[in-house]
Each structure stands twice: as C-alpha cells, then as structure tokens.
Point group: C2
DNA sequence: AAAATATAGTTACATATGAAACAAATTAAT
DNA sequence: ATTAATTTGTTTCATATGTAACTATATTTT
C-alpha cells in the first residue's frame, strides 16, 4: 500500500477497534437498558457469577481495570445490594467479594440474554468462520509488539 | 454453553474488545512516543493526509468522534502548527481543514512506520486468514443489532 | 422578506477519570 | 525483633470528558 492511498478505515488497529466498539456498544444496550448496570458493573457481576472467593485486586487483574475504577464500581455495586464484601481471614487489608442473592438473581437473568445475543451474532458465521476468528484474534494478540 | 460455565473471556464482545484494545494500545506507543501525538490527533492527521478540503463536521462523522472532542483536538493541532484552518467560501460558520507543511511532513514520516507496524502484525497471518478476518469483521459489523 | 428552524463550531458546567498520596496491614530484610 | 519494603484498597486532586447552552451563520417556512 503506497503512502498516498493510506486509508485509516483499512488499517488493522482502527478496523478492529471500530468493529469491536460497534459490537460492544450494541451489547451494552442490553445490560444498560434492560438491567440498569454499566460496563464495569456487568464485567464484575459476570466474573463473580463464575469465580467465587475473589478479592478486588484479582478482579482488577482479570478484567484489566485499574484498582481505582474497581474500588469505585464495587462501592456502587454494594450500594445497589448486588454484591457482598466480606473479610478475608488472615489478611485484614483485602475484601472477599461475592454476589448477593439479588446479584446472583440478576446474573441468572442476564447470562441467558447475553448468550442469546451472542448466538444471534454468531448465527451469521459458519462454525469454521467462528473458529477462524478465534484463532486469528489469538495470533494477533500474541504477535502484538511491546504490549503495555 | 450453560449458565454455570459462562466465561467472560470467551464472550464475543469482550474477546473482540480485549484484542482490539491490546493491539490499539501497542500501536499507540508508536505515535505517542515517537511522534508525540494522541489518538484523536493521529486519526485527524491520518484523515487529512488523504481527504483534503474537509470541514470539522465531516471529520467528526468520518472518525466517529463527537464534535466537542474534534473541536478541542483541532485547537491543539493548530497550536502545534500541524494543521491550518481556513475559511470556507460561501459558509462563514465552517472551517476548511488541511495539514500544514510540518503536519504533512509528520504524516509522511508516520504512515510508512504505521504500515511497517501493520505488516509485522499481518506477517503472522496467511493471506487467506487476513481476508477471512476482514470478511468476518464485516459480517459481524453488519449483523450487530440496534446499533447506536 | 420576516420569522422560524437548522447547522457549524465553541464554551460552560457538572461528572468521570486516573495518577499520586494515603492509611492500614503484611511480608521481607537486617 | 526492628526496620524497611510491599501490598490492598480508598481518597485526593488535577485533568478529561460529554451534555447542554451558546454564538454566529444559513436555510426553510410562511
């Protein structure tokens, strides 16, 4: 590709980000409008639904969100009575996190909707295409130079 | 996939966003550290390098960035003497945008580096895989429900 | 052609964000 | 065993952000 016809639209990082944002924004409508939660809230609930007995720092590493944002989002989720913070035995600094009854109930209602939404998207792809996509994303991820 | 083993990591929007951000952050190091510009600055320069005689609103639509952000970034780029704002004949509200000499010079140094960076990434894929990726991203984009 | 609407771009304001400072607890080093 | 260094999570503060209000101009309606 020559310099004169460099097109941002076709440039890998831009194209990927644009598609990913488009898809993420669309999915966001589900948890925002139907469940009244934000993206970090959804991410935390989705994790706590599976990974039990986790502390804030681990959550921060898992979802790659800085600890300030995690701390603030956890405060909101606690305020909304969707999670419970409990002490970790043997470490008075950390707080164990878990879904409350209503948090778990929200999780149980949300996950099938999320999977349904995902299935609608994936129905546009053949099984091969889906596997190709996963493999290609994986290759690109690993190939990324000097990652932050 | 049952509800008990729902994994955020494998969920399409999350996986795509995570890969895209990883790649975009890596590329950001190039324009940030080597050229001292931010993401919106890079996007604007990349567009002005190709699309001449464009006004701020058109830029806003092209790179899908709200007009406030565009306005502020253009102010910075003008301050840095990388762009020139000129009047549009027949419409005193709009401002025509173009790269200054040094803006164009930066563009000419940056684009080959960007393409080199992209080529390194794409060298990990076969030609078929690259075409597959483009086609799949396209399908997913079009299939996205109720896009914002 | 005057009045009403719409558009381009900037500014003001209220909120979101993240780096750095912090308090409290834990672990490592001497 | 003290001291020093590290870790966990929160708070502070300065900056970034986006909505809404705004100014100026253009277009449409009556």
């Amino acid at each position: 590709m020559s310099m004169e016809n460099f097109l941002l639209e076709e440039f890998l990082p831009y194209k990927l980000v644009r598609t990913a944002e488009h898809i993420a924004n669309s999915f966001a409508e589900l948890y925002e409008t139907e469940f009244g939660i934000t993206r970090p809230e959804w991410q935390i609930i989705a994790n706590l639904g599976v990974q039990k007995n986790i502390i804030a720092r681990e959550l921060s590493e898992l979802i790659r969100l800085d600890k300030v944002k995690i701390s603030r989002t956890l405060a909101v989720l606690e305020e909304k009575k969707l999670i419970i913070k409990s002490p970790v035995e043997g470490d008075l600094r950390a707080t164990q996190l878990s879904l409350s009854a209503s948090g778990h109930e929200l999780y149980q209602r949300l996950v099938p909707k999320a999977l349904e939404w995902e299935n609608h998207m994936l129905d546009g792809l053949t099984g091969t295409q889906y596997r190709d996509l996963c493999r290609i994303l994986d290759i690109l991820y690993k190939r990324t130079p000097n990652q932050k």
